[in-house]
Amino acid sequence: MPIVINLDVMLAKRKMSLTELSEKVGITMANLSILKSGKAKAIRFSTLNEICKVLECQPGDLMEYLNEKEYKKLIG
């Protein structure tokens, strides 16, 4: 899917680990890993709300739409 999750970028900007985010948001590490790796099929508004609150960012900062060309280039 050409929607890319930039969670790792936001985590680096906020200097926060995945474990810390997991504790603050209240989501399991396994689920956060699914989200981070781009395997997730959907994200609940409540989850998005919590992540944005903790990372002090907009939903657009966490995900990005790429066109086919850009996406293929990213995947390699």
Binding site: I34, L35, A40, A42, R44
Partner: protein
């Protein structure tokens, strides 16, 4: 405390757990039945003698291969069935024997003189249609006013392995399907119990049982068409000139497709489709954060 106790009871004595245990036992006994039947086909004895009077195993096979038969025509008008020939004998106990002229004709009834059946005995209880008093209470006893025989069992003995296998094929198919079905349902219930009802394998299990039932019906129907002429001699009560036969018996091989079984198989296929959809939804649910 009380709640915990009930939860413990629920866990410990779950209906599902008992059902799974029963299904596993069913599978075990079905497989055992298949082994014993194959043993009989190969010339062995499918039961063991525990003592002079008691036996364990497929004791019904002592008298021959039990074959379910059904009556093709309605009422039983006569119950004098007894036949003997150089090739073997047929008998029905508890009735008057045939006249010698009838018996002579009986010998000519068989269309296939080289039939491989040595002995056929019948196990029919035949009412003659007259009102018969049966046990009743008070001043209003019950009566049988309309005696009718619809089905029964023939016991057939033959030494030929091919014929044994042929006659027992429907039983073997049925037991195989039963063993497979019970085993699959037990595993399905196990998954439901562990909260993984919509696992990828479960819809395949239901689908396989559904197709198994449909295939079983079609195989039996095909067999009945293929072996109809071979088995015709067992239909020895068919109407013959010079002897008014009261009933026509037909062996189970003359098989009509069972609408109920086919419907059951179809319903399982629909259920399998529903489980497949459930599996897709479950996958989506698992990947929703």
């Amino acid at each position: 405390m009380k709640r915990r106790f009930f939860q413990y009871l629920k866990r410990r004595f779950s209906f599902f757990r008992y059902t799974i245990a029963i299904l596993n036992l069913t599978t075990l006994f079905s497989v055992l039945g298949i082994i014993l039947i194959l043993l009989y086909v190969l010339g062995g004895t499918p039961y063991i003698n525990l003592s002079n009077s008691s036996k364990l195993g497929l004791t019904d096979f002592e008298r021959g291969i039990p074959i379910p038969v059904r009556i093709m025509s309605g009422y039983i008008l006569d119950s004098s069935f007894y036949g003997q020939s150089a090739h073997g004998s047929w008998s029905y106990s508890g009735s008057t024997s045939m006249l010698s002229s009838q018996r002579a004709h009986w010998d000519s009834v068989r269309s296939d003189k080289d039939a491989h059946v040595d002995i056929i005995t019948t196990e029919f209880r035949i009412w003659n249609g007259q009102s018969t008093t049966i046990v009743g209470k008070g001043d209003r006893p019950a009566y049988i006013t309309d005696g009718q025989l619809l089905s029964g069992v023939l016991h057939v003995q033959t030494q030929r392995k091919g014929w044994r296998l042929l006659l027992l094929l429907p039983k073997l198919l049925y037991l195989s399907l039963f063993a497979f079905g019970a085993w699959q349902v037990a595993r399905l219930l196990g998954d439901i119990l562990s909260g993984a009802a919509f696992k990828n394998t479960n819809y395949r299990r239901i689908r396989n049982i559904g197709w198994g039932i449909i295939a079983w019906q079609l195989v039996l129907f095909t067999l009945s068409l293929a072996f109809k002429d071979w088995m015709a001699f067992i239909n020895f009560y068919s109407t013959t000139p010079g002897y008014h036969s009261p009933v026509q018996l037909s062996v189970a091989y003359e098989y009509d497709l069972s609408f109920s079984w086919l419907t059951g198989g179809g319903v399982l296929l629909i259920l399998a489709f529903a489980f497949k959809m459930g599996n897709q939804l479950q996958q989506e649910q698992d990947l929703t954060i």
